[in-house]
């Protein structure tokens, strides 16, 4: 499954990526392609560096080795201004929403427009209201971020991410810690935005069910490697017992329920005594 040539339709291609933090290898020779106009999910257990992958793609972190190209540009060879230009075409939805707490919802969504364009305020208003309408929160424009629920904050952040009409959006754990209704709303929004705006979406998540509903392709990462990839259906049918355990959420399997420890009976008995 090591691909060498980028797929014809790949917006992002990752080749032989290695990254380590301290002595811990987060990625070991990972290669993957993300297709234009599709929703690609990167899944895996917590702590496997899924968010790190997003930061590498966005150029916030530097790999030890390997190449990441976005729309034909090698992210880590760009000058600072070029990287910033590329980022204007990327939206990123952080887990916490990352709304600026000292501004209202309206000003948050207007923030990238005011920073990067010289549009008159009337046009900014129109754009902001359009983006807010797209996420269904036009009525919440006067609220401050601390008055929003977690799900609303994420939707506002989504409106802000699409403010500059990017070509792609990176979602960092969009479903974590949401109630079922917010979750359903976000699933619907990601799908709808992807098709109506012609975006390319990358979802990093460990919520198997919600992600399977909308993803076109799923990559499963564990221990620094890509274990398998394919459509959600293919993943459910996977012959790998590890993937089976991950997709069904079974408590025990190839990933043991117990943290490695010495023999249970030995541990319970007082040391040095044997009955």
């Amino acid at each position: 499954m090591e691909q060498t040539a980028p797929g014809d339709n790949a917006l992002i291609s990752v080749r032989q990526l290695s990254f380590s933090r301290g002595n811990k290898k987060i990625f070991n020779n990972v290669s993957l392609d993300i297709e234009r106009g599709k929703i690609t999910a990167i899944m895996g257990p917590s702590g496997t560096g899924k968010t790190t992958l997003l930061k590498l793609i966005a150029g916030q972190l530097y790999p030890d080795s390997g190449v990441i190209t976005v729309d034909g540009l090698n992210v880590h060879q760009l000058r600072r201004a070029e990287l910033y230009n590329l980022r204007k075409r990327m939206g990123m939805l952080f887990q916490s929403g990352a709304l600026l707490t000292d501004m209202s919802v309206y000003d948050n969504v207007a923030f990238p427009l005011r920073e990067h364009t010289h549009l008159p305020e009337s046009m900014i208003r129109t754009l902001v209201l359009m983006k807010l309408e797209a996420v269904g929160l036009r009525g919440a424009r006067h609220l401050m971020p601390n008055e929003l629920s977690g799900g609303m904050a994420r939707r506002i952040a989504l409106a802000r991410a699409i403010a500059l009409d990017p070509m792609m959006i990176l979602y960092d754990e969009p479903f974590t810690g949401q109630d079922p209704i917010s979750m359903g709303v976000l699933v619907h929004l990601i799908k709808a935005l992807n098709s109506t705006l012609g975006l390319t979406s990358i979802i990093v998540s460990h919520d198997v069910h919600e992600t399977s509903l909308i993803a076109d392709t799923i990559y499963v990462i564990s221990e620094g490697r890509i274990v398998d990839h394919g459509t959600p259906e293919a993943m459910r049918q996977s012959s790998s017992p590890w993937i089976q355990q991950f997709m069904t959420g079974a408590a025990d399997g190839p990933v043991p329920f117990h943290y490695p420890a010495k023999d249970y009976l030995d541990d319970l008995l007082p040391t040095g005594k044997r009955y």
């Binding site: 030890d64 600072r80 990123m92 990352a98 707490t101 952040a157």
Partner: protein, 252 residues
């Protein structure tokens, strides 16, 4: 210029934090609105504590000074004593310490929380440089506010000393002003005190901003960074005060 590799960058950034911030100051000039907002939260919000502390410090100086000077029959020089100690030392130093406690800790907590809640990271993702957009206006606001606050502190202190000296203890208010004007020198005392307050304002804001930017992005990390801001600022202000005093008032 290619961007440097990861190891180099993580080494470079904290060390060149100041340099990056200073280069960001130019962009602040183009956006006075950012500066104005920060002048409010750094300057205006510190005004009350500076005003009240200045008043009390001046009143205590008036009282203590009177007790000591009256032993020598030199109550007339009370104004000089109060004004000289305020303008040369207490004005810049105490207002800088209060500034570090009030505005510095608030800056660290604000920046640290922005980091912990991924706001800085999010800004970078929106192709907005947080050093230019967030850090630089705050540094400039601190730099501008500190001399103004120190000026208010000393002025209020001198008036506080007059209230006690002339109002309660019966020192002639004409003598209070005359001794002050005769012996305080504009260049040696006022300008040097002003320079001190500019230096302290710069150092206190810089430490506060750096600690916030460098904080470990957790609640514990932010609270520790806030403590470090106050401790490090106090050390730096008092240490620098000694050096500046030795340089300025050494020979005269």
């Amino acid at each position: 210029m290619r961007r440097p590799g990861p190891a180099l960058l993580s080494w470079v950034e904290p060390r060149f934090f100041l340099l990056l911030t200073l280069s960001g100051l130019f962009s602040v000039v183009l956006r006075p609105r950012l500066l104005l907002n920060q002048l409010y939260s750094v300057g205006v919000l510190s005004f009350l504590i500076i005003f009240i502390s200045g008043l009390f410090v001046g009143m205590v100086l008036g009282l203590q000074g009177y007790y000591i000077l009256s032993d020598f029959g030199a109550e007339e020089t009370l104004g000089l004593m109060v004004a000289a100690s305020l303008v040369r030392e207490l004005g810049p130093v105490v207002s800088a310490l209060l500034f570090a406690g009030r505005a510095g800790s608030a800056l660290t907590a604000e920046i640290g929380l922005m980091k912990a809640t991924e706001q800085l990271s999010g800004m970078e993702m929106m192709a907005v440089d947080p050093i230019k957009r967030i850090i630089a206006p705050r540094l400039l606001a601190g730099l501008l506010s500190m001399p103004l606050l120190a000026g208010v502190f000393s002025t209020i202190g001198i008036i506080g000393g007059l209230l006690v000296g002339s109002g309660m203890l019966g020192v002639d208010d004409g003598a209070y002003w005359a001794q002050m004007q005769a012996k305080l020198d504009f260049y040696d005392d006022i300008v040097n005190g002003f320079i001190k307050s500019v230096v302290f304002g710069f150092v206190a804001s810089w430490i506060a901003l750096f600690e916030g930017y460098d904080a470990i992005p957790t609640s514990e990390g932010v609270s520790r960074a806030t403590t470090r801001t106050v401790v490090n600022s106090a050390f730096s202000i008092l240490g620098l005060d000694f050096i500046l005093t030795a340089l300025m008032f050494g020979d005269s």
